[in-house]
Amino acid sequence: MIEQVLSALLAVVAAIGASVTYFYGSNWLLDRLVTDRRTADGTYVSRQKTRDAVRPWLFLAPALLVLGVYLVYPVVETLRLSFFGKSGDGFVGLANWTWAVGNDGVRTAVRNNVVWLLVVPSLSTVFGLLVATLADRVAWGNVAKSLVFMPMAISFVGASVIWKFVYDYRGAGSEQIGILNALVVALGGEPQAWITVEPWNNFLLMVILVWIQTGFAMVILSAALRGVPEETIEAARIDGASDVAVFFRIIIPQIFSTILVVWTTITIVVLKIFDIVAAMTNGQWGTEVLANAMYNWMFRGGGHFGRGSVIALMIMIAVIPIMAYNIRRFREEEARR
């Protein structure tokens, strides 16, 4: 045990040391190698320009290198692999794509992903907005916010354990230890093995992600709500607008772009959702989603690179509109700077 702690510490120090050494070393080298000097006839030659041209690339090199190897190259490679066979060799054309279109498992995954995309971002945003609005009006608002935000810190797997316990099922007649079934029994119902009940089990898995993401939505929206100028609200009130009208006609339009940001961000999380399904059902009982299907085809029984790549690309294709939207937003922001 102690040995492992020591080697872990050593690894940590070495890794961080290497990064620090690179930045200091390369800049030091640049200053040493490209110095100002006097030529034979005594004129002073400043090489400041050369240094200024090289230095940005020293700053950027690690980032660009890592991003290139770990994100750009894989996108290209995945695209290539999607046209190849099981172990990545042997060109098969569009065979993997036609397989994906016709495969029932993939269809279920696509269908479920669409439902996830409809349910989770909307519920998280609505709850987030609700908590942000309510918490600003009570003295204990900050405590409430902290508690709602807390699940953000919990891993999806940890959250899965927590909720699996909530959904736990014991046969009718014995005492329920899962709180959901206990409530159902207390209200006179029959206990259910919730996570096997199609199609409702999908929604029970979505509840977990909503539970995690609401805190995120709340924090962002709460900041946006504070940014709404008090004068516009007062003016509307003086004109006789009701609270509901103020909320929907004044406040919502003013924070609309933030709502979109929250929505987008949660949508991206949902598209990549893997952990919850992997830990709760592993895609059984009709709960498969694309990311888990991909993992199964890649690394578990499936072991098919081509098919796994196609599913990964399907996720990518779904993300492209969001990516385009983000880049456009960045451009607009740049223009405003």
Binding site: L67, L71, V138, A153, G158, F165, I179, N326
Partner: protein, 384 residues
């Protein structure tokens, strides 16, 4: 704050706000609370009664045998067997019966006929069986009873998962993954963010647009090519393909677009004067960055550090693909998921393991919440 709420009179509206918010907070807190309470309960109680009953005494059925004939004593001319069915001091008898189908036939203190003896079981678990004549046969009669167990909390579950389930190793492995995977991307991103914000070079806009674009590349895309690349490198150099270095670099890359984006927003917002005046004094970009910009950026660096720390700590997918599942490499999330599969019914192990795994992020979260929120806002509300 004396607004009317949703058109209702002030008091009713206020009440609704309080109740509504309380309801949400309860739903959001109770699941975690349940996990925490359960992880501290005795494992037999945990699986027989709901955690919300943890503070009330729970009842449990059990059976015991009377002592044999050789424990016989005489008392006032009678022949007596005395003993204690409950060994624990704080438990008590609620009811007893002579037959497994009717555990609640008699109340403690009742005298009943049992194998020719007059048997009385008292509330504290002691019993007395008397007979006017010497006890003839060694029956060692069985008695069934319902005992009440007062609420007990224990750290035994934690001791067990830490000692024998390998959670302690997984805990250290997780730290080994998390710390470099938090520090390295910050360092790399800070340099890159500074370059994007304050240095002039061709292709600046284009490269930054690419970095922002990469924000939304699902990391699933990367797994197959990278795993193949790792395998090739491993095979070529005769080293294992699943290493800590491999996962640090992977997490670095996956966290980098967000880090560069957030940090550039912050560093780009620093006042131009101080940077230009430092340069007039002859400081190079490297000096400006390390001596001026880095110290000024501490809040932004801290917020991203928390973000990345939580992300790496909580990650499952990257660890599943790039790290082995042996004792020396498996991380907490991965271990926990394995347990969900293999020990799905051992709630005492699952609850305490899960709590160990969420303990560190929760501590980091509550201690540094303020910075974390600031980091989230830096990326999302700007221009919103």
């Amino acid at each position: 704050m004396n607004r009317r709420v949703l058109g209702l009179p002030l008091t009713w509206g206020k009440l609704l706000v309080h109740l509504g918010l309380a309801a949400i907070v309860i739903v959001w807190t109770v699941p975690t609370l349940g996990l925490f309470v359960s992880s501290l309960r005795d494992k037999d109680q945990l699986i027989t009664s709901g955690w919300w009953t943890a503070l009330t005494a729970s009842e449990q059925t059990a059976a015991g045998r009377l002592l044999g004939r050789d424990a016989e004593a005489t008392d006032d001319g009678r022949f007596v067997l005395r003993g204690d069915l409950l060994e624990a001091e704080n438990r008590r008898i609620v009811a007893f019966g002579l037959d497994q189908t009717d555990l609640r036939a008699h109340a403690p203190g009742d005298a009943v006929e049992l194998g020719g003896l007059t048997f009385t079981l008292f509330e504290d678990g002691t019993y007395e069986a008397t007979s006017p004549t010497p006890i003839a046969e060694d029956y060692r009669e069985r008695v069934f009873y319902v005992e009440a167990i007062p609420p007990t909390f224990t750290l035994a579950n934690y001791r067990e998962v830490l000692r024998s389930e390998g959670i302690d190793r997984a805990f250290i492995n997780t730290f080994t993954v998390t710390i470099p995977a938090t520090v390295i991307p910050i360092l790399i991103a800070a340099f890159a963010a500074y370059a994007f914000a304050w240095m002039k070079f061709p292709g600046r806009q284009l490269f930054f647009a690419i970095v922002v674009g990469l924000l939304v590349v699902p990391l699933q895309m990367s797994l197959i090519p990278l795993l193949r690349m790792y395998n090739d490198i491993g095979a070529a150099f005769g080293v294992p393909s699943k290493t800590y270095l491999g996962i640090w670099l992977a997490h670095t890359a996956f966290g980098l677009p967000l880090a560069v984006y957030l940090l550039r927003n912050y560093i780009g917002g620093l006042p131009r004067d101080i940077i230009e005046s430092a340069q007039l004094d002859g400081a190079s970009h490297f000096d400006v960055f390390t001596r001026l910009v880095l110290p000024l950026s501490v809040p932004a660096l801290a917020s991203f550090a928390i973000f990345q720390f939580l992300w790496v700590w909580n990650d499952l997918l990257v660890a599943l693909v790039f790290l082995g599942k042996g004792e020396d490499q498996i991380v907490l999330t991965s271990k926990l998921r394995e347990m969900l599969g293999s020990r799905g019914d051992n709630w005492e192990i699952l609850t305490s393991s899960a709590f160990v795994s969420i303990l560190v992020p929760l501590m980091v979260f509550f201690a540094l919440q303020r910075y974390f929120v600031r980091g989230l806002l830096a990326g999302s509300v700007k221009g919103g």
